[in-house]
């Protein structure tokens, strides 16, 4: 009986671990999916946009804490950091679209596909030159309080990460489903030839998509900084890859799918490491994903027409 409770605790504990990890993959993978929906291209710079967003968040957070700590309440500083970082990072997204993707819109697909990789490398080395190779420590925006409820340990930071990620995803979903801009994006992903003829310019929708994706990635970056407070210029690479896997697994262009797959990858990673020796974690975790893709080549919510039409 007791071992039963222990096992339950163990599973619940790992469930929380997985929710936190999955939140990052989910929020970041949405950025991949949205861009794919509109441009039919994966923005391989997205992992590095996430990295740049984290650095911006780091800068804003450090600034605000230096200016306002003490006489403004912590949550307000946090909120201000999030909003301003989102705003600034959106412009990074716009920049990537305008400088990297727009000039190559009519170029062969392979050329357009690798621009993201190049922009990513430019960001990485740019930050490296600008700030040096020194690791930076993201300042805590709220004091971490550890709770122990029935043998399950969690912190307020963890809860916050999970809740904010969910709220963000709901917000994006609403934006895409309920607003005029969202409708334009959906229309664009349905038929990118006819929609511009109706007066919706790709030159507005595409940067908007990049901006929303980058804004999301930047919030993920701030949350990431709270959970794993060590910043380095290459931090976006691995996270970016895994979020990219999530975007494919969810079904190319599907936001719901990307979010779901992001959580799934988090769960698979954590539970594989729990059950098997942790040395084999990525080997087993990604074999499982490969297996899923073998049976569902289009991912969870991938639409058939997109493959017929463009790729």
């Amino acid at each position: 009986m007791e071992s039963f409770i222990e096992l339950g605790q163990y599973i619940l504990q790992n469930l929380i671990n997985a929710l936190q990890r999955g939140s990052f993959y989910a929020v970041i993978s949405i950025g991949y999916s949205m861009v794919y929906g509109v441009l039919m291209l994966f923005n391989f710079a997205h992992g590095d946009i996430f990295m740049v967003g984290t650095y911006i968040g780091f800068g804003i957070a450090t600034l605000f804490l230096a200016l306002f700590a003490g006489f403004l309440p912590g949550p307000l500083i946090f909120l201000a950091t999030v909003i301003i970082t989102m705003f600034l990072a959106s412009w990074v997204g716009v920049f990537v679209e305008v400088a990297g993707y727009r000039p190559l819109r009519s170029a062969p697909r392979a050329s357009a596909a690798i621009t993201g990789l190049m922009i990513g490398i430019i960001f990485e080395t740019g930050i490296l030159i600008l700030l040096g190779a020194k690791r930076l420590s993201f300042p805590p925006l709220m004091e971490s309080i550890a709770y122990n409820i029935g043998g399950i340990y969690f912190t307020n930071v963890k809860v916050m990460i999970i809740v904010i990620s969910l709220l963000l995803m709901i917000a994006v979903h609403t934006f895409i489903q309920k607003t005029k801009w969202g409708m334009a994006m959906r229309a664009m992903s349905y038929d990118f030839l006819a929609v511009p003829l109706m007066g919706v310019s790709i030159n507005i929708i595409a940067p908007l998509t990049f901006a929303v994706g980058a804004g999301l990635a930047a919030v993920a970056g701030i949350l990431y900084g709270q959970a794993y407070p060590i910043l380095d210029p290459y931090m976006g690479v691995i996270v970016g890859w895994k979020a990219f896997v999530a975007a494919i697994l969810g079904g190319r262009g599907s936001i719901k799918g990307a979010a779901l797959a992001g959580y799934l990858i988090g769960f698979i990673e954590i539970f594989v490491a729990t059950i098997f020796p942790s040395t084999l974690r990525d080997l087993i975790a990604y074999s499982i994903i490969l297996l899923i893709l073998t049976f569902r080549p289009r991912g969870f919510f991938g639409m058939e027409h997109s493959t017929k039409l463009r790729l």
């Binding site: 222990e6 790992n14 671990n17 936190q20 690791r135 380095d232 539970f271 942790s278 974690r281």
Partner: protein
């Protein structure tokens, strides 16, 4: 025909670019290569190596050059970035040996780079001293490769003994990076030493991750559940803060013990209060140092604004050893291959060298016999001497 002529000209131009010494005046300059991680995962280690080397060069220049056999020679440092990658470290060594004509190489620092780079140095018969690499393979069967520190087979038992003596624990957990030579090697040695002391099965959790992972929650949850009393994690300063914090968040109450890779000046800066009161094995402790060690610490602190870590101190010793060996070699003939062999022979013969990290005499493998210290991170975040352990 014109194409071929063009090619010849281009090839010639390239050759000129890369072999400046072949055409310039014949003045012998002693070149020392520094192979260090200036960027990549552990840039602070590279910075410490570079700063220590610059201090050393300053001394040489103040003396008007390096005196060998009654003649003073100009010394030049060739500092190459190995990006904390094995393949870049190999490339850096290749370049320094074949293009820059260095007399000796100091570095690379971590075993991950030092093991493959040592292969190159040995093949091209050039002395290489790795100040910080503790993995046995670095110098094994390589007469041209030396090191400035103790080895993991020594360090592992030191840590295991310390934990047993200090806390009386019998159950330990290990968390290490399986993709990096140093943590992997040391984790294995520690496991062996611990199990020898406390019996088979006394390592209750032996968990790993791969380089660049940031989330250790599933491994740490396993470790917490395993009932381990102490956690040993031989990781670098960019991972230690994450491991320590996540462990505490997941309900870990016991001590966390580390190895000499914790010694970087950055560990405490990144980790903050979470790391206070933890222990690790190291090469020297800055707080409370005396004599030549203190002179070096004060000079370094004055010049660069922070207390030098073990890497800086070991690099300093490695350079002083190189200097000693060059001077012992007696003369510089200007024939680089011959001089390199002479330096190697001289280095192998150095006895009782008084370094700032302890006295050193090389074994036939090129490993010094020296003491380890257990350092405690005190309540103001300094690395304080706690205990010393000698072979």
């Amino acid at each position: 025909m014109r194409k071929i002529a063009c090619l010849v000209v281009v090839a010639f131009a390239f050759a000129m670019m890369f072999t400046p010494s072949a055409f310039s005046a014949r003045k012998t300059i002693i070149k020392i290569g520094i192979n260090a991680p200036m960027t990549g995962d552990i840039p602070k280690v590279g910075e410490g190596s570079k700063f220590a080397a610059l201090l050393w060069l300053e001394d040489i220049e103040k003396a008007g050059g390096l005196e060998v056999g009654g003649k003073k020679y100009e010394v030049e440092l060739v500092i190459e970035d190995n990006e904390s990658k094995a393949e870049s470290a190999v490339k850096a060594n290749m370049k320094m040996i074949t293009q820059d004509d260095v007399l000796a190489i100091v570095g690379p620092q971590s075993s991950k780079q030092a093991i493959p780079a040592g292969e190159v140095a040995n093949k091209y018969k050039t002395v290489m001293i790795s100040p910080w690499s503790t993995n046995p393979s670095t110098t094994l069967d390589r007469p041209y490769v030396f090191r400035g520190c103790f080895l993991d087979p020594f360090q592992g038992p030191v840590v295991a003994n310390f934990i047993t003596d200090e806390f009386g624990f019998t159950k330990a957990a290990v968390l290490y990076d399986v993709a990096s030579d140093y943590p992997k090697g040391l984790a294995e040695v520690f496991k062996e030493a611990w199990e020898k002391k406390n019996g088979a099965g006394s390592i209750v959790a032996y968990e790993s991750f791969t380089t660049k992972d940031t989330d250790f929650s599933s491994q740490l949850t396993k470790i917490v559940k395993s009932g381990a009393q102490v956690l040993f994690t031989p990781q670098y300063y960019n991972e230690v803060p994450l491991i320590v914090r996540q462990a505490k968040d997941l309900g870990w109450k016991g001590p966390i013990v580390g190895s000499d890779s914790w010694g970087s000046a950055e560990t405490v800066e990144l980790c903050g209060k979470a790391c206070y009161g933890l222990y690790f094995s190291s090469h020297y402790a800055a707080a409370g140092a005396k004599g030549a060690t203190k002179v070096f610490i004060d000079r370094y602190t004055k010049a660069y604004g922070y207390v030098p870590d073990d890497v800086a101190a070991l690099t300093w010793d490695a350079l002083r050893l190189t200097q000693q060996a060059i001077q012992d070699a007696g003369k510089i003939t200007g024939k680089i291959e011959k001089d390199r062999i002479a330096v190697k022979d001289a280095l192998a013969n150095i006895k009782n060298f008084a370094g700032i990290t302890g006295n050193m005499t090389f074994t036939t493998e090129g490993d010094p016999i020296k003491c380890a210290v257990i350092v405690k991170i005190n309540d103001s975040g300094e690395y304080e001497f706690y205990k010393s352990s000698c072979p």
